[in-house]
């Protein structure tokens, strides 16, 4: 159904007139121009399209836009504030925790959701939390190390 939908996007209010059963991924990428969120599988199997809705990591490729009405949406573009990278982003750079970079926004956002819930996760908890985020380049060990480091430095400051 075509209607007005309001939500906050990266801390700014947004109002859209859209078919509310469209998937959030396409609205983000092609209506709002936020291309940091990626298409990978279209079926919530790979995590490339992960965004944060009200502090939960969700797969935007299977999330109808009506489900975010009135909620707070955060994408990779909203992680750095006032030009300062988020500690997870810093740690990904320090560890070179990416190769082609395509899965990276989804990984960082997924990790962000974990640290919201648990400021100091263990290695095992990180692995469990990221297990449905796929990376084909094989950057897994570095991603885990980067998140561990970020968790050490954030002190709950996400």
């Amino acid at each position: 159904m075509r209607r007005n939908i309001s939500f906050t996007l990266n801390r700014k209010p947004v109002q859209l007139t859209v078919d509310d059963d469209r998937m959030l991924l396409w609205v983000l990428r092609y209506d709002l121009g936020l291309t940091g969120t990626k298409f990978g599988c279209g079926a919530a199997l790979c995590g490339s399209c992960t965004v944060i809705v009200d502090e939960e990591a969700v797969r935007s490729c299977v999330t109808p836009v009506k489900e975010i009405a009135g909620k707070h949406l955060l994408t990779i573009e909203g992680l750095s504030r006032e030009g300062r990278l988020h500690p997870i982003q810093e740690a990904f750079i320090d560890h070179h925790a990416f190769q082609c970079g395509y899965c990276t926004p989804g990984m960082i956002v997924q990790a962000y959701a974990l640290l919201l819930k648990k400021a100091r996760p263990t290695r095992e908890e990180i692995i469990q939390h990221l297990d449905n985020n796929l990376c084909r380049c094989g950057s897994h060990t570095r991603i885990v190390d980067a998140i561990l480091e970020a968790a050490g430095s954030t002190k709950g400051a996400v």
Partner: protein, 719 residues
């Protein structure tokens, strides 16, 4: 240094066939110091059409660097950054030879308008072949700039000049100083690569370090733009009607319902039926409304019958290598072991599916494409839409993984054809099912090995036949007096009817299959003789580089001699690829009731000659080990009668975080040997090392990749 490369590149003449002279090119390219260079014999990178592209290049070089009046160094290379870090490593090479800061070097890559012709990014060639020539060009530039400095500073010679961060200073008089920027400002100076000595290893300042990757900030902020992120104003999104199986033919398609959706257009162009809309999801919805009838494909092979088919249909064997006499070996052998090894089709499955955006402005086509081969693609695009190649520009922006699969770029041809028909920019992004359907899989393959030892346990017979994987990695490096290696059918196209769908290069084409077979068989022999697998290998290895990596890996692993199966679950494998030596040791735990394998630890030692960026090398090793677990344990394309049954990551499992072993990497210091390849070699031993460790754990020998839980259970029951 490859001396033959230097000789070939020093003989440079302007090729007038293009109609563009060096002078004309320089007019277009602006001011600064230019050094032109080529990688290897001209024939190897001559553009097939010999047609120029504006701004046109003479065809006697395929890369160049420019030092501008702003002091920045720009290197123009047709290679593509696929995530392997080459943008960073190449900049390191140039910065070091020029004595400029790493940050002052910009890499312009993968753009057919800005970069000279390049055949493509594959085969771990970027650093191996291109690196030495780039270093030479940078050294040449430095030599020219030193001479200019001496003239400028009115010094009799360059003898007492020192360079740091692009500033030349006289060591006898520090007031005499001039920057590269000042020297070239407003001038147009041209040099071609001559024989110039490059820096000796101890003088390196940037090579051997691990600076922050040039693309790091883009990667972590979502600013990195891939082909699907390019949306020129008015872009339309296309979804194409696909057959249910390879070989199925379209009989009729009713598009009425699709066309009723506002804004949807259905395009029929030859055999292609596409729906386009300004939103991709609406195009997708419209596509689902097309009622199409296909005539099914002829019944054909499936993933179980394929191996018999390959053996029957494979072209005749060709001899790859031969030593001694097999007949003599047979005579001397006290014990002969013969086995067959199989591997299934494997997908590339990059996280970014094939994507492209095409826009036609006037008579010019521009395509952003996820591709490993922008220049060959330009040629195909020109042909597909009837444009002259010089009116086609291909840009490979950030590419979300390739692994060989983006050497083929059909999506770009589709986008260009649709842009031509509609007159609008068109984006084609394959969905995951299309990615699996049109992938150029790593071919299914069969290897047959007959090997013999004498009474003293010495290997003296090796009869090796590989079908359909290709001969790369098939040559024997263990010392065996009587041996023959034969290969039938390569890994690529060119064998019509052999495979039920397209096959192509997959990270180290052929080597994964050949290494799995060879190293499994070597282990089998060691086990039958009751020998320790490390000792058995060492007793047949005289190549010092292979011995060194094997000993390094074994030492780090804490290898303790025992014959397999020892119950410990440990294994070894050696491999060589693109001039690089790799040895891997692994530890696994096998659940004997479920067949599930946990790879607990992998130690990998690699000798790649000169290491440009040690962190980059380790990253490629970790990458190869992690990705390699997929084809070792799970990855296999299921298919039947031309239909690809795996269409997404639910049934096609690639490695996940929970699969992660503890990974330890050892980069052997060997800086005086030219850099060899790094992107491919570390993956090649994973099938074998895991197979050998599973055997050591259980006594079950897996001779088919992938070693799924099901196959392991079957092997355990077989005993």
């Amino acid at each position: 240094m490859h001396s033959d490369d230097w000789n070939e590149t020093s003989e440079i003449a302007v090729d007038m066939a293009t109609g563009v002279s060096r002078r004309e090119f320089l007019q277009l390219a602006g001011t600064g110091l230019f050094v032109f260079f080529a990688t290897g014999p001209m024939a190897a990178f001559q553009e097939p059409s010999r047609l120029p592209a504006p701004p046109s290049y003479p065809t006697d070089f395929n890369a160049y660097l420019r030092i501008g009046g702003d002091g920045r160094v720009t290197c123009f290379v047709g290679k593509v950054e696929l995530g392997q870090g080459s943008k960073t490593a190449l900049a390191q090479l140039a910065a070091d030879e020029l004595d400029v800061s790493f940050d002052s070097v910009d890499m312009v890559m993968g753009d057919t308008d800005l970069c000279p012709w390049d055949m493509g990014t594959f085969g771990s060639l970027t650093i191996r072949r291109f690196g030495p020539v780039l270093r030479g060009a940078a050294a040449e530039a430095r030599a020219v700039l030193l001479q200019m400095s001496a003239d400028y500073l009115q010094l009799p010679s360059v003898e007492n000049l020192h360079v740091k961060d692009g500033v030349v200073t006289c060591t006898k008089d520090e007031h005499k100083s001039v920057s590269y920027a000042k020297l070239v400002e407003g001038k147009r100076i041209e040099r071609h690569l001559e024989k110039v000595p490059v820096k000796p290893v101890p003088a390196f300042t940037v090579i051997g370090t691990a600076p922050r990757r040039k693309d790091a900030l883009d990667m972590v902020t979502g600013k990195a733009r891939y082909a699907a992120d390019m949306t020129p104003p008015g872009t339309l999104h296309a979804r194409l009607l696909r057959p249910p199986a390879h070989g199925a033919t379209l009989k009729e398609a009713d598009t009425t319902a699709a066309e009723k959706i506002p804004g949807v257009r259905v395009i029929r162009d030859g055999e292609m039926i596409a729906v386009i809309h300004e939103r991709p999801d609406t195009a997708e919805r419209a596509l689902e409304l097309i009622r199409a009838r296909f005539e099914p494909a002829q019944p054909g092979e499936d993933d179980k019958t394929i191996f018999d088919h390959l053996l029957k249909a494979a072209p005749p064997l060709q001899i790859v290598d031969e030593k001694g006499s097999l007949a003599e070996g047979e005579k001397l052998a006290a014990r002969v072991v013969e086995e067959t090894y199989l591997n299934s089709y494997v997908a590339h499955a990059p996280m970014e599916t094939h994507s492209a955006v095409a826009i036609i402005e006037g008579r010019r086509l521009t395509v952003w494409a996820s591709t490993q081969t922008p220049f060959p693609l330009r040629q195909q695009l020109a042909q597909a839409i009837g444009f002259a190649p010089e009116n086609v520009r291909v840009i490979a922006p950030y590419v979300g993984g390739g692994f060989g699969g983006k050497s083929s770029s059909g999506q770009a041809l589709e986008a260009a054809r649709l842009a031509k028909v509609t007159g609008k920019p068109v984006q084609v992004v394959w969905d995951r099912a299309e990615e699996f359907f049109y992938d150029t899989f790593r071919p299914a393959a069969v290897v047959k090995i007959r090997a013999g030892v004498n009474a003293a346990g010495k290997l003296l017979l090796w009869d090796y036949r590989v079908y359909c994987a290709g001969d790369r990695g098939s040559r024997q490096f263990y010392d065996i007096p009587h041996q023959r290696t034969q290969s039938s059918g390569g890994w690529g196209a060119g064998n019509p009817g052999l495979h039920p769908f397209a096959v192509g290069p997959w990270r180290a084409p052929g080597v994964n299959t050949n290494t799995f077979a060879r190293e499994s068989h070597i282990d089998t022999l060691a086990s039958k003789l009751g020998s320790d697998p490390l000792e058995f290998r060492l007793s047949h290895l005289s190549d010092p580089r292979m011995r060194r990596v094997l000993l390094a890996a074994a030492k780090q692993f804490g290898w303790k001699p025992a014959s397999a199966p020892s119950g410990r679950g440990v294994g070894l494998a050696c491999a060589t690829d693109v001039g690089t030596y790799v040895a891997t040791a692994a530890e696994v735990a096998v659940n004997k009731s479920t067949g599930h394998v946990e790879v607990k630890r992998v130690v990998c030692a690699q000798d790649q000659g000169l290491t440009v960026n040690p962190d980059g090398s380790r990253q490629q090793m970790e990458s190869g080990i992690t990705m390699g677990l997929g084809y070792a344990l799970a990855e296999e394309v299921r298919f039947k009668d031309g239909a690809v049954l795996d269409r997404n990551f639910d049934s096609y499992q690639i490695p996940r975080f929970s699969w992660l072993p503890r990974i330890e990497t050892i980069v052997i210091e060997n800086p005086e040997t030219p850099a060899s390849g790094c992107g491919e070699p570390p993956i090649t031993s994973l099938g074998a090392v895991v197979a050998n460790a599973i055997f050591d754990a259980t006594g079950a020998r897996l001779r088919q990749l992938p070693m799924t839980a099901e196959r392991i259970k079957t092997a355990l029951q077989r005993g």
